[in-house]
Amino acid sequence: MTTTAGGYQPGSPLPHHVGEVIVEARGIEKYFGRNHVLRGIDLVVRRREAVMIIGRSGSGKTTFLRCVNFLEEPTAGWVEIDGLHVEAAPLHARSRAHQEQIRQVRLRAGMLFQEFNLFPHMSVLGNLIEAPTRVRGIRRDEAVATAEKYLDQVGLLDKRDEYPARLSGGQKQRAAIARALCMEPKVLLFDEPTSALDPELIGEVLHVMEELAHEGTTMIVVTHEMHFAREAADRVVFMEDGAILEQGPPEQVLNAPKDDRTRNFLRRFLED
């Protein structure tokens, strides 16, 4: 049984809640030096879809996510986000035209990091309005209103004027999510957003992410949180050795994996 690169069976109906294609990545290859870490990844993500990428560390899932918004320049392949098509250009990665295309991609894709990466020299509000005012050219009062809306959504309105150093890890990651939302991206990319958090703080971040998923935010999440994937994912993608081995609805991939290696990974993971 084969699945299409989009993750759905050929001919089978799409889940009714998903919309048009937002992210399409084709033939993504990545070498670090001579090390072949991504071996031709194809992935299609549709509007309102929450796709979770799982796999052991070193399988290339984070590298793939970073290739989607060109924090890593793919060695080959192309990415299309909301109709903007960008080819990998490893030989001309620094060219002005390519950099501008990449910037346009990034305006469509918000990114969340393991280490949050809030700007420590700006207040929470400063973090949130920096890009809207300086990149999008939105008036400051409008940007503040938007920022407050999203801070409220992640439950941090009272931390508006705090500096990041005064926030807990969970609060930092939620502020980072609000910062990404302020740019009104078409898709959110999460790179192991809870891996740097103390166990008791993971829940509050996953809760915010789950709400976003249920509201229909398009997202690609690299995660080790299997329970979260089961609850919030529309589709789970299992990666190993730089390739997608298996993908489908969470109950299928997580409960009845077809591939031995997926089964192996899940067994070891659930034992831990």
Partner: protein, 268 residues
């Protein structure tokens, strides 16, 4: 066992703390007494060798001390210009443009590879042969800025590189263009990292500014030397100048340490 002499543990902790406090106080007192003895000894030697001439001091102290604000002016102006040079130097040293990198690394190598006094003489006596004549204070500012700018280029470069990579990535992921990533995200954080080192350089510059006396800039050392040689009181004059430099560095080092402590405490 010896229940009669044993104290409760909380009392023992108090006693230990009390004796430690006393030991620290005694240490500081003895160290201060050593300083006073050394300074007193120095004065005694000068007095016994008839080298303290109060009439001379009364006549000349103002002439020498006017050099202090000039020294401070030289140092403050030069550290500010040097900082600006260092920002551009550091960005040049990190540039992907080979010409810009070449220019910046040439500047740093040339300046760090030649003596400051040679640079001062070059600007003071060499440039006029090329038709460029500057007044002595300007010579001093140009030489000190240029020299410290090169050393501080390396400080700023290290500061920029010490900003975590994730900061740059987060800014890029938000769509900030490269120029804004540098100006809004990287440089402000790099500044906080380099402030203690810049303060350190400032204190060093107060002393190095004495070298511009060879260009006849009428700062502290030049005045002391002039006052001393004219009246054969060089020993006294130079001691006065040295004392003023010493006091200036103690004062600015104190502020610099305070600043460093505040920076070390982290974000607010």
């Amino acid at each position: 066992m010896s229940a009669r002499t044993s104290e409760p543990p909380s009392r023992i902790v108090e006693l230990v703390e009390e004796s430690q406090r006393r030991a620290r106080k005694a240490f500081r007192l003895k160290a201060a007494a050593t300083w006073i003895a050394l300074i007193g000894g120095l004065f005694l030697v000068l007095w016994l060798t008839h080298n303290i001439d109060t009439a001379w001091i009364e006549e000349w102290w103002q002439f020498i001390l006017i050099g202090a604000p000039i020294t401070i002016f030289l140092s403050v102006t030069s550290i500010l210009i040097a900082s600006v040079l260092a920002i551009f130097g550091a960005m040049g040293r990190l540039s992907r443009n080979p010409y810009v990198f070449g220019l910046a690394s040439f500047y740093v190598s040339l300046v760090r590879g030649t003596p400051l006094i040679a640079q001062i003489i070059f600007i003071y006596l060499g440039l006029p042969q090329l038709g460029i004549t500057l007044d002595p204070i300007t010579v001093g500012i140009v030489a000190l800025s240029f020299n410290y700018g090169a050393y501080m280029t390396e400080i700023f470069r290290a500061g920029i590189q010490a900003v975590p990579r994730g900061q740059r990535e987060a800014a890029e992921a938000l769509g900030l263009p490269e120029r804004l990533v540098m100006r809004r995200i990287v440089l402000p954080q790099a500044f906080r990292i380099v402030i203690p080192a810049v303060g350190n350089d400032f204190v060093a510059m107060i002393k190095d500014s004495a070298l511009v006396s060879v260009a006849s800039a009428q700062e502290l050392l030049w005045r002391a030397e002039r006052a001393g040689t004219r009246t054969f009181h060089t020993l006294q004059a130079i001691i006065i100048a040295a004392a003023v430099y010493w006091i200036l560095t103690i004062v600015f080092s104190y502020f610099q340490e305070r600043l460093e402590q505040r920076m070390a405490r982290g974000d607010r």
